[in-house]
Symmetry: C2
Subunit: 347 residues, 2 copies
Amino acid sequence: MSDIKESPRIAVCGVGAMGLDIIRVLHSRHANIVAGIVRPGSDKAGRHLGELAGVPGLAVPARADAERALSDARPDIVIVTVSTYLDDAQYEIFSSAVRAGANVITLAEEMLHPFATDNGLARELDALAKRHKVTVTGTGHQDAYWVNLISVLAGSTHDLGSVTGRLSWNVDDFGPTLAELQRVGTTAEEFTRWLGSAERRPTFTYYALHTLAEVIGLTPLGPAETTTEPVIAQRDTHCGVLGTTIRQGRLLGYVDTDVLYTKEGVRLSISSQGKVYEEGETDYNEWNLTDSDGNPTLHLRNSDVQSAHTTCATLVNRIPDVITARPGIVTIAELPQLRYWTGLHHA
Amino acid sequence: MSDIKESPRIAVCGVGAMGLDIIRVLHSRHANIVAGIVRPGSDKAGRHLGELAGVPGLAVPARADAERALSDARPDIVIVTVSTYLDDAQYEIFSSAVRAGANVITLAEEMLHPFATDNGLARELDALAKRHKVTVTGTGHQDAYWVNLISVLAGSTHDLGSVTGRLSWNVDDFGPTLAELQRVGTTAEEFTRWLGSAERRPTFTYYALHTLAEVIGLTPLGPAETTTEPVIAQRDTHCGVLGTTIRQGRLLGYVDTDVLYTKEGVRLSISSQGKVYEEGETDYNEWNLTDSDGNPTLHLRNSDVQSAHTTCATLVNRIPDVITARPGIVTIAELPQLRYWTGLHHA
């Protein structure tokens, strides 16, 4: 367990949209950015983080030689924003940081709750982190909006029967790749065929639901189950990111619903809708609790959510928690309540 | 620091509306209620808690001899729901429980943040609790809805400029005494005269605002300042609890606004509206955050809040936290994140 320093030495690994937003947040809060790491062969290697992120004066080069860069910079913590799942490539990155004696904080969704879905690699990484006396933690938007706000809300009821989340994001806010992944513009038949044949990885909300159970103190009866429903255009709808019009009757996107049943009889679920928005639609995050008879009890809504930004800000505010946490893979269920990092306020 | 037992021995001191709702919650969750205490001379003395709360089978008598009752029942924790402020009468109750070796959990609003407003009694009680190795904590609706949800929300932003809460409650949900305290039916002139002459105690939200600052990690520049505005009836409006019609131009109630400025430049405020509702109005709890330039960033809304009930449920869910906390007066800023007490779930 390291002590939290006034201004820890921070390295950023991955300088895509998320990594660059995090660099801008850290820079505006006068954090101590000591290294930037990109994958070998990246055309960003050698360029300065300040130039890449559009913040003049941050003369830290992006380096493709991760191990050398880490041993030169000696960061207290490495922020990793390169991918979603704990696969071999991600393991390599995490373990390089850990072997360099740095804590790791990541947006990789699987790292919110890694033991259930990739037990082998998770246990290996956990042992490695313990050996090097550092912590590895996954966080992001879901830490606040899909887990901890909801757990506090549940703490104000005496009869918990079900917890149901609904959230929505706009396909047009992301790239064309994601629009295709979200099956935008396909027919209902094509969608059904795809759904039947697709080997899909767990959804992002899958990990959040298991973490929510852990934070509330509920025991899952099995893994969360996912069902998927198309969202069909009721009228011709423009899709900006594909530069095309989705005809009435075709897909604007789809909704994934994860459901987790628990030993305590509490049903947890999240429906995540990703679609091309019509005029006037905005992102939201909404949760409803019922008692054990199904009567509505508590309600929480966040309107106009900026989840890309809250993801980056939450990660930054979690840095002191991760530096002071016990060694090993530590999920947010073990961290203290999420709070604003005042140590960096107008620093 | 006591260990949390599977089912702690619980005494309830005060059997008004809140105390009875708490007894119903505890009973429905099969908690171990071992004593009930009422003030000397109360006509409820000798009656059973089950009869008073309408839950047959709870054959625990309400006793007016507090010290004997506590020494007979040996509770692990005493729930106190008798008044708002840490005055001499409240001190007597708290200290009897503490001297009997019991932890204390209370809805008394001042106990959410007692050192600033009644330093003398608070320090005395703190020392007494430390000597007896028990904890004294104030909690309630404000714990979740005015402090901890907001702190988690603030943990998802990187540029915190202001935090503004708005909440509303219906005078008709409470007794006629409160309607009169809320100046229902008076003229604007009468209200202004009263406001100029009134020696008002701190508002309930005052304590929550100071606790919110503490939980976020902000340093108040001074005490929160309160301003008060009348709510004038725009049309004749029926007031159920007074059994009368409030004429257009007269007061439906008023709004208290507390503002707290902090060393970090973050402005915290809460506006609490208590008025006779018109058709279709319901209670809400709404918070808006801005960045340091005043631009809106984050938003949270709880609609149809049942604050009497969330007050009682939150207190019950906080029992294990208070039993395991360090000795002394411990505010919710020091407690772990509020969560549902699964130990009592369908127990």
